[in-house]
Amino acid sequence: MVPLMLPTSRERLVVVGNGMAGMRTVEELLKLDHARYKITVFGAEPHPNYDRIMLSSVLAGEKQVDDIVINPRAWYDDNGIVLRADDPVVAIDAKARTVTSRSGLTVSYDRLLIATGSRPIVPPIPGLNLPGVCAFRDIADVDTMISAAETYKRAVVIGGGLLGLEAAWGLKRRGMEVAVVHLMPTLMERQLDEAAGKLLQRDLTERGIAFFTDGQTEEVTGTDRVTGIKLADGREAPADLVVVAIGIRPDIALARAAGLEVNRGIVVGDNLATSDPDIFAVGECAEHRGAVVGLVAPIWDMAKVCAHRLAGGEDMIYAAQATATRLKITGIDVYSAGQLAAGEDEDEIVLRDARRRAYRKLVLRDGKVVGTVLYGDVTDGAWYFDLIRRKTDISDIADRMILGQSATTGGNGPAEVDIASMPDDMQICGCNGVCKGTIVDTIKAKGLDNYDAVKAHTKASASCGSCAPLVRQLLAATLGIEVSASPIPTACKCTDHTHEDVRAQIVKQKLKTQDAVRKAMAWKTVDGCASCRPALNFYLLCAWPGEYQDDSRSRFINERAHANIQKDGTYSVIPRMWGGTATAGELAAIANVARKYDVKEIKITGGQRLGIYGIKKPDLPAVWSELTDAGLVSGHAYAKGLRTVKTCVGLEWCRFGTQDSTSLGKQLERLTWGNWTPHKFKMGVSGCPRNCAEASIKDFGVVCVESGFDLLVGGNGGIELRGTDKLCHVATEAEVLEYCAAFMQLYREEARYLDRTAPWIERVGIAYVRSRIVDDAAGRKALHAKFLHAQSFLQDDPWAQRANQGIDATEFKPLAALV
């Protein structure tokens, strides 16, 4: 029971700073003693308390501002906290024990908590006051960047550390051309060693970010708005937006003016009190034993200790722990902890796996791990970090531990983390300091059965989110259900399984019908829903070519009717025109059909062919019959499958053409038509780098050059514009065909249903795709063979089947009219 006390009898706690450190301390304090203080919080920003770490996700468009609010205003009200947002404290009078805010409000305190955080470091260069220059620290900065990305094209980020790279990636995702200027020769040099820094730079360069390393910015240019930057060595870069992210510095101005002891930060003891015993400081503004912190894990430790002290406790002290860093750029995994490089009397173990573009390093001293750097595959980060924290003697496993936990301790597979063998006090969530035991106990004690509840109750994965897969695995293991390894969306609401789980089990358990899948995987519905049925249909079709019977009742109407439904309920009919070419006979057949069935419109589509619009459903078989007679086949313009192969005229006619792009396009179309894929699949073949066939926004693009063919993948000209990644260069047409088929097969086998190639590649990384298609010749040939095998069943024109062979006849015929 909370003792009933009159408000006036309570002590007054004033918190300067409404950020993560301050509010976490208040949360911890309320847990210990809800009634002790009357709390007033002053914040400079006009927002409630939010998760600053997630600003990069907001910038990248992965989250909204509302998603990152930690405590909404209702929380302050519910806990009787007075929040003065947008009203920063401007003075502390330690003698009178009062603070005064910008609006002129003066409030007395019994205890004061300073949590002013940091300010961005501003370099002493001219031009920083120009419009279009900002930092990357708060919501206002992110708003500035997002609105700049809507209007302008080019951005320069000054600073190639964690924050700068996340800013650069976010702006790139928002469609800007981005260059990063970095003072040092390699990126993120405080968290990564040189080798990993170079790998990171290479991968980001491939994603279209330009770099100026060893670059010292001398001036930001412009008169009314920023126009660019100049470097000391003479290099220049144009820019409509400049983001300064070279680092942060503890915000100690108030404390210094109040006469508190300050150094780089506000000096605090192990009890987190400043030189005034009634004034405490936590977070990035505090300096403990000569060190300031910038990561969330030690700040949460500070919050816990400080709350304990504020609640009257006297035994808990703060001690700095090793910390780990992770970069939040989709598809690029970087992890580091502890020492980055070996000094004297220390050893390094390094593993480079060029094929998988993975790199890992361990730094050892006296038979213990003291540091690790991981790039590419970071699944073992938590294990290494645990060995570092625990100072475990690893002499016995030193020779093989670089291969990871499962290789070392004999677990199941290389990518699986062995949850069961983890000790209870192994830390799962580094940000919030939550151990395995705490999570398991909470799941059991509170009867939790879903991930969101576990996150809410334990705070595990509530900050940066990178441990969410582990938390999900723990939940699954505790409840004794099938283990799902990632925060991947479930296939639909009918199941708790992810797409990946479902696909894996279909193959592993040899499930060959939808009913078998739903039964084996404990579906919650008898016949699924409109989301999972088409997905299962595709997964089964892909896994069991020639064996699984395609289920028309699990196809969207367009794929079932082999025509596109239009908004008035009529259909469009689009025959295939190989590589965008046609014969006179084919054109005549289209004209005849149009006249006979009184079609409303014929249009040249974006895929270089003719669309016939406004056909009534019962007329479709007859229309197809006439088109089929003229040799035309379905263009699959309705399919989650191969759509069009757009070509230019190429060498035959064009004075710039380097290869016969039209012929190559036709060959590709003949190879791939009829194929079903997770989502629609478009190709383009351009005869020269002028790229008239727009191959660089296709799922698979070919740009012909004198020496052969550049192969491009993962482009998309749709809702989210994405240029292709270059897969590789090949010399012959035969290779183009083989690589194309292998790439399509990989996409068919591994992407989630309704994933276009662009988001799939964003997720798995172009490096992975290259490792499977380019580096692994045997694997490529196997994928190619599997593709051809599937095609032997799929290349059967659906229009001919329905026009002349009576397949699906009831689909197109209404019943007799009611009289």
Binding site: V526, D527, G528, A530, R553, R560, I565, K567, L815, L818
Partner: protein
Amino acid sequence: MPDRLNNVMTWVKVCHLTDILPLGARTIPARKGEIAVFRCGDDSVFAVLNRCPHKQGPLSEGIVHGHRVACPLHSWVIDLETGEAVAPDIGCTPKIPTKVEDGVVFLGVDDA
């Protein structure tokens, strides 16, 4: 069972159950607009006016699951037992009574 109810509705034979594929639908032209007849996975049969309350999409072309159908145009889900849209969407399409006897599907047609 009486073929007439209060002199306002007549049971009219429209097809055999097997004329509709499981989890499928057929359409019937009618004076008041096209009717969609659905056969669910458990062989129960429902009929509604073939018009989604949202943008008049042809419900007969949607994916049938449970006793529901998802409209092919914008994926509204209609409960075939009531004709009501499933939350959060709000709307209703008129429902026509059905019965199945000895494998024959009947619709209840208004005399008025």
